[in-house]
């Protein structure tokens, strides 16, 4: 049943890769703010928001309800 060990090895490598990615993402500050991103992605469509978005956190306090 050595295929098992091969698969486990590979699975651990993959999981390890994801662990590194996870650590990177936390260390990188990706999850420092776990609210703004969910709102920000809604606004990339609007024609004139690019200028507004210069200040990144503009929508934090005012989630619009259109």
């Amino acid at each position: 049943m050595s295929a098992l060990f091969v698969l486990i090895g590979i699975s651990i490598l993959v999981a390890g890769g994801f662990l590194l990615a996870f650590l990177w993402s936390v260390g990188n500050g990706q999850y420092d703010d776990d609210y703004t991103p969910s709102v920000r992605m809604l606004f990339d469509q609007e024609k004139n928001t690019a200028a507004k978005n210069e200040t990144e956190n503009i929508q934090v306090t005012t989630p619009t309800t259109k």
Binding site: L4, L13, G17, G29, Q30, L42, D44, A51, N53
Partner: protein
Amino acid sequence: MQVEKFYYDNRIVKNFAYATILWGVVGMLAGLWVALQLVFPSLNITQYGTFGRLRPLHTNAVIFAFVGNGIFMGVYYSLQRLCKARMYSDTLSKIHFWGWQLIIVAAAITLPMGITTSKEYAELEWPIDIAITLIWVVFGWNMFGTILKRRERHLYVAIWFYIATFVTVAVLHIVNSFAIPVSFMKSYSWYAGVQDALVQWWYGHNAVAFFLTTPYLGLMYYFMPKAANRPVYSYRLSIIHFWALIFLYIWAGPHHLLYTSLPNWAQSLGVVFSFMLIFPSWGGMINGLLTLRGAWDRVRDDVILKFMVVAVTAYGMATFEGPMLSLKNVNAISHFTDWIVAHVHVGALGWNGMLTFGILYWLIPRIFNTPLYSKKLAANHFWLGTLGIVFYAVPMYWAGFTQSSMWKQFTESGQLKYSFLETVTYLKPFYAMRSLGGTLYLIGALIMVYNIYKTVKAGKLVADEAAEAPALEKEYHSHQGEHWHRWIERKPVQMLVASLIVILIGGVIEMVPTFLIKSNVPTISSVKPYTPLELQGRDIYVREGCYVCHSQMIRPFRSETERYGEYSKAGEFVYDHPFQWGSKRTGPDLAREGTGNLKKSDGWHFRHMREPSSMSEGSIMPAYPFLLEQDLDTNSTPAKIRAMQTLGVPYEKGFDKEANEALMAQAKQISNNLLNDSIRVAPNKEIIALIAYLQRLGKDIQQPQNN
């Protein structure tokens, strides 16, 4: 801060959208056709149109062509906007698009020709496998290139789902596709028997996980908030359930092999992880549905949201059912039956299909800058699709449960109550009803084709959509600010993936041959390699996709050992490159077809293959008259023997040169047997080899006598 102007590439999105629609219809049509074949076996027209060859065409078309293009459509649309950047390279986008379509065409040609590895959802032969790997790398290159030149620091959760999809599918595909080529379009799996089964279902399950689930969750996290115009219920939950999901999924594969010859501890491992998966899966489902909190009134009017709600609900149902089916006592009933067919179609039709439709209705009007042609038609599509799912799933659940119960039913005197054939003919009405469900679903999809055609006609493609965003600062000062951070940040994802792939390829190439071949040494001394004729017959069995309907795995239940003989042992499969355990019993198990009560004469097999219903009245098996006409290709015998020797099968040295003599001797013997049965057939016909293989099945171990 400098605001930069740039353009989103909508043409590539349009191309993938068209491909999604085209292949979706083709895949569903193929599905409807094979469903009808189970009701009307006469629809098995010519050798290129038998169920065994067309069902893989259906599954591959739906998974890799329909859903595959759907993934790319959604990724190319959302990634550009989430990264505030055009795709990294238009050339790579084009290579990706056309390469993927060529692979699909290659699949559509080779599968009906019987060119297959017989590993489910990985049936394509080695040259196409290599092409898939290359195109997948192009996709990844393009995606990571875009991520690296993004103008938005934060990677939205959808992007993480895309990354996980890319990395894991690459690894799965490479590991499972390891094979030794025999000729340009024929190869033998590197693994044998139990090992092959394990690798295959490690792949097979994760194909569901990382091709049908994670990318679509990513799409859900982009398109559902967009369609509802409100943020996802909990961004924090999305992050937690993402990491939990990808860590758990990869261990769940063995739940496809419960009660088989796989070691018990591996089975249990699969069960435990499968069960845990319910939590992250439902995390995603809940997060999707609750995104609509306070907006449910809009679901009444907005057909796109309707599609998405049904999709996410179907996801929730399928991922509740999955862990349940992974429990051994449930699996004992459900495995090998139409229950599983129902389960996967709730996932495919409900989750993947309905979400794809929702995205198409949302996206096409946007990139063509025009309203949808008809909301009413879209609503009709929605209801036809939803009803189609119900009409499909309910008969299949019913059929699965019924058939399993009939298999396990004993009379008062302890005899099996139903012959296998009785359980098959009982299911025909259910199969007919299922076709009705499929028809409804297909009609819905055709209505969508018309609706989108009219929409596209009315609008004009905004091929390059203008956008602007401030450039990303080059240096990011994290609050910790150590310098390895900065170093890794310059090429974070690229480095990660490149090193992972290098390690994996290197590791696999080194380990697989040395490890696996040694452990293929038989543990049952009476198990012998196939004779050349049997080997050729086995390749015909593979070519015709017999594994699609016939298992070769007797589980240790009394209802199975009574019907099929002694339960299967791991040691019996050590020369099976690839394994042929199957996953569905539309026909009976064949693991011991050549032994005990199941043993039939050569003449029976001959007549049965010529016209199955002549020997088993009411059989829904296709007829194989062409096997009686076609000559066996004996030129390939030496190469096949040599390939097997490389894989560690103990044929004597130099046997490849004598193999064809041995083959002819055995063929003449069978031909003579048939002559005694007043059947005149030349020994060089394919049917002879197939009979040799069928008569060999299960013979290697001494079985206790059953009554």
